[in-house]
């Protein structure tokens, strides 16, 4: 066990002394993340995270729901993120956007609340017309996509909560009515109580995700997507670098020398694998730390992050070992590794979100550690915890175990020392 560790640490030391490798492992993903950030407008406006997005609220509704939404925008929790102003006139608001003085205008039309919660006495009357939903308008400033996007996301979130509440409220009340447990007189007050509930959960739901300064960024920050995407892609480089070092040590004679020393073959191979593992964890760990320090990316639950890093490196290391077992020379590992890195990067969603990909690509993407890792990191960035990671972590562990098994079989057949 001690020798295993010593071999692994030796490999980690060598990695930190290999400038070319470090460029690929740390600098390249870091720079690409910055590049992605610029391309996607992450850095337009304030460079220290997103804050003080100017937004104009026009509340023509003045019902419970309209007021609730207005409250969300003026809430203490979003005070750092948003800079809301109220206006009475939609035209004036649109004017402000057109002259680039604000990121977006939110126009809550008259009758918004009524369209969802009908007035007293009309709800279940026989001749009631199904209420027509009235749309909230978000008038966005195209030159400030990020800010406008965040405003839109807040509104969408609010509306979808209201919709959810409406559907579940309606169906449960209809159900109660049908089964005779509820008489129509009570139904209306019951419904009001339910919607009241919606309003309350509404504001808390958004509050939950906006704990601190720039915190809505947790949910909307594209860097929280691209930073792990790049880290995972270049993790594939690191594992093939580690695998390559097995063949390189064979060629440079240090592997035979290890075999001659009183060290078991399993210890030597185990040590090399541990080395790959150390390198991967060091790389992803450093990248996560760097993007936290330099870009204020909020990665989410630290415990979840640690477990996810370990699982992702394990899954990726399995690929590294398989490539190594199949290759004959260090150069073959390097070229195959780079190709796999790019293919997995694209398939795994490191560049383009998988949701916009055709379904067969999404199916293939399941073989990449990138996909599962990215799923996990996204879950965490959206406020999930270790408990929500069961699926990606299990997938990564199974992937690693299967690939290691296959690699060991191949190594056993050809012999680690034979050419």
């Amino acid at each position: 066990m001690r020798k295993l560790l010593l071999i692994g640490l030796k490999d980690l030391t060598l990695m930190f002394r290999d400038r070319a490798a470090l460029t690929f492992m740390l600098l390249a993903p870091f720079l690409l993340t910055i590049g992605m950030g610029f391309v996607t407008g992450r850095f337009s406006g304030n460079s220290s995270g997103i804050s003080d997005i100017p937004v104009v609220i026009v509340n023509l509704d003045q019902g419970e729901l309209g007021n609730a939404l207005e409250d969300v925008f003026f809430s203490e929790d979003l005070a750092d993120l948003l800079e809301p102003t109220a206006s009475d006139s939609p035209e004036a608001a649109r004017q402000l956007i057109d002259s680039d003085q604000a990121s977006a205008a939110v126009i809550i039309p008259e009758g918004f609340t009524r369209s969802i919660i009908p007035a007293q006495g009309t709800m279940f009357s026989p001749n009631a017309v199904a209420p027509q939903a009235v749309q909230i308008e978000v008038y966005a400033n195209p030159s400030r996509p990020t800010g406008a996007g965040i405003v839109k996301a807040i509104v969408d979130e609010f509306v979808s909560r209201v919709e959810e509440g409406r559907v579940s409220g309606m169906t449960s009340i209809l159900g109660l009515l049908q089964s005779g447990l509820l008489n129509p007189q009570n139904a209306e007050s019951e419904a009001r109580a339910l919607f009241k509930n919606v309003e309350e959960t509404e504001s808390t739901a958004i509050t939950l995700k906006t704990d601190k300064e720039g915190a809505a960024a947790t949910e909307f920050d594209l860097l929280a997507y691209f930073a792990p995407g790049m880290a995972l892609m270049f993790l594939m480089f690191t594992v093939s670098y580690g695998g390559r070092s097995i063949l390189a040590e064979r060629a440079q004679g240090t592997l035979p020398r290890l075999m001659i020393s009183p060290t078991h073959t399993a210890q030597v191979l185990g040590g090399k694998v541990l080395g790959i593992f150390f390198m991967g964890v060091a790389q992803v760990g450093i990248l996560i730390l760097a993007s936290t320090v330099f870009f204020q990316v909020k990665w989410g639950d630290p415990l979840g992050i640690i477990v996810l890093i370990l699982a992702a490196v394990f899954g990726a290391a399995g690929w590294g070992m398989l490539i190594t077992a199949l290759a004959r020379t260090p150069a073959q590992v390097a070229s195959t590794g780079s190709a796999v890195m790019l293919i997995f990067g694209i398939l795994g969603g490191s560049f383009i979100n998988l949701e916009v990909m055709p379904s067969f690509i999404r199916l293939i993407s399941n073989i990449t550690p990138n996909k599962w890792g990215l799923d996990g990191f996204t879950t965490l960035a959206l406020g999930g915890t270790l408990k929500n990671l069961t699926e990606p972590v299990t997938a990564l562990l199974i992937m690693g175990a299967v690939l290691f098994g296959v690699a060991v079989l191949i190594f056993n057949r050809s012999g680690i020392m034979q050419k």
Binding site: K3, L14, Q252, P256, R257, M259, I260, P262
Partner: protein, 314 residues
């Protein structure tokens, strides 16, 4: 002295090519034994089997009472190996390399560090130990390569051509180190294709060629096989026909053998002075210009020539 190594019919095939054809020899505790042979003779293959890296195709060897095939772990503890190709981590310093390899031999803590200091002193790199190996000269790398083999104070040290490709000074230092180690009680199996090294170092020599041990004994025993003969070496021009000259020289009285290698003809004779004039006139007859002539007393080179009809080096 008891035998520390006994080799029994050791053979190795690479596919259908037989690199070592069932060789047998012993090494006594405390001696320096040289395995002398040209390129491709099977020296490294033999060392690789003895150091448990390759499994023999057939045969076995007993090292300090342990079979290399049945108890390789016990063998590994007894032996130290200096491989022919330098096997070090270039991005680690000499000291870091020694510490790592010491750890692989089970050393740790203070005893490891003091041992590393001793070895650095021994290989003369104590003052440069903090530089990365990749910044070293070939000779310095060779010395670190040797140092790694010494860390755990092996009873039996295998050195596979440890002086290949280095300057005369470094070579001198290495040969002296080998002698020192032997004085301190280490048994050494030394392979080389330099006749002079085998001659200077060894108590006994095995001559290996094409995977076969063609001669074995002390230097006296071996040179006696050739008889009291001298070796005469003629250096001739590049474009001259060495083979034709060698053939014509065989006709001279007292020339026991004459062999051609590129730009050289070697002649074995009981007394060099007696044939010198005849040799020169034969060359003149054929219009071949002789650049220089060496006369050598009986030596291992002559033995090899005698046994194989070829020079040790080509």
């Amino acid at each position: 002295m008891p035998n520390i190594l006994e080799v029994h019919n050791l053979a190795k095939n690479y596919g259908d090519f037989t690199a070592v054809k069932g060789i047998s020899f012993d090494i006594k505790e405390g001696e320096i034994f040289s395995l002398l042979g040209p390129n491709g003779a099977g020296k490294t293959t033999t060392i690789s089997m003895l150091s448990t890296l390759y499994t023999p195709t057939s045969g076995d060897a007993i090292i300090a009472g342990h079979s290399i095939t049945k108890d390789p772990m016990a063998v590994k503890q007894v032996i130290g190996v200096v491989p022919q190709e330098i096997a070090l981590y270039e991005d680690l310093t000499a000291r870091e390399n020694l510490i790592f390899w010491g750890q692989m031999y089970g050393l740790s803590g203070r005893s490891l560090h003091s041992r590393v200091d001793v070895v650095l002193e021994q290989i003369g790199l104590a003052d440069k130990a903090k530089k990365r190996v990749k910044t070293y000269s070939g000779g310095m790398k060779r010395r670190v390569n040797i140092g790694v083999g010494l860390l755990h104070k092996p009873r039996l040290l295998f050195m596979d051509e440890p002086t290949v490709g280095i300057d005369p000074q470094s070579r001198r230092a290495i040969l002296d180190t080998v002698k020192d180690l032997n004085k301190q009680g280490m048994t050494v199996l030394y392979t080389t294709h330099y006749m002079e090294e085998a001659q200077e170092l060894s108590d006994r020599v095995g001559i290996i060629d094409h995977g076969e041990l063609i001669a074995l004994g002390t230097q006296d025993e071996l040179t006696r096989q050739v008889g009291q003969t001298d070796t005469l070496i003629l250096h001739i021009g590049e474009n001259e026909d060495a083979n034709a000259l060698a053939a014509s020289l065989k006709g001279i009285k007292d020339v026991l053998e004459a062999n051609a290698t590129n730009h050289e003809v070697s002649i074995i004779t009981p007394q060099a002075e007696n044939i010198l004039a005849a040799v020169v006139s034969k060359a003149n007859e054929r219009g071949i210009k002789i650049h220089s002539i060496d006369i050598r007393e009986p030596n291992l080179e002559a033995v090899f020539l005698h046994l194989t009809g070829r020079a040790l080096r080509d």
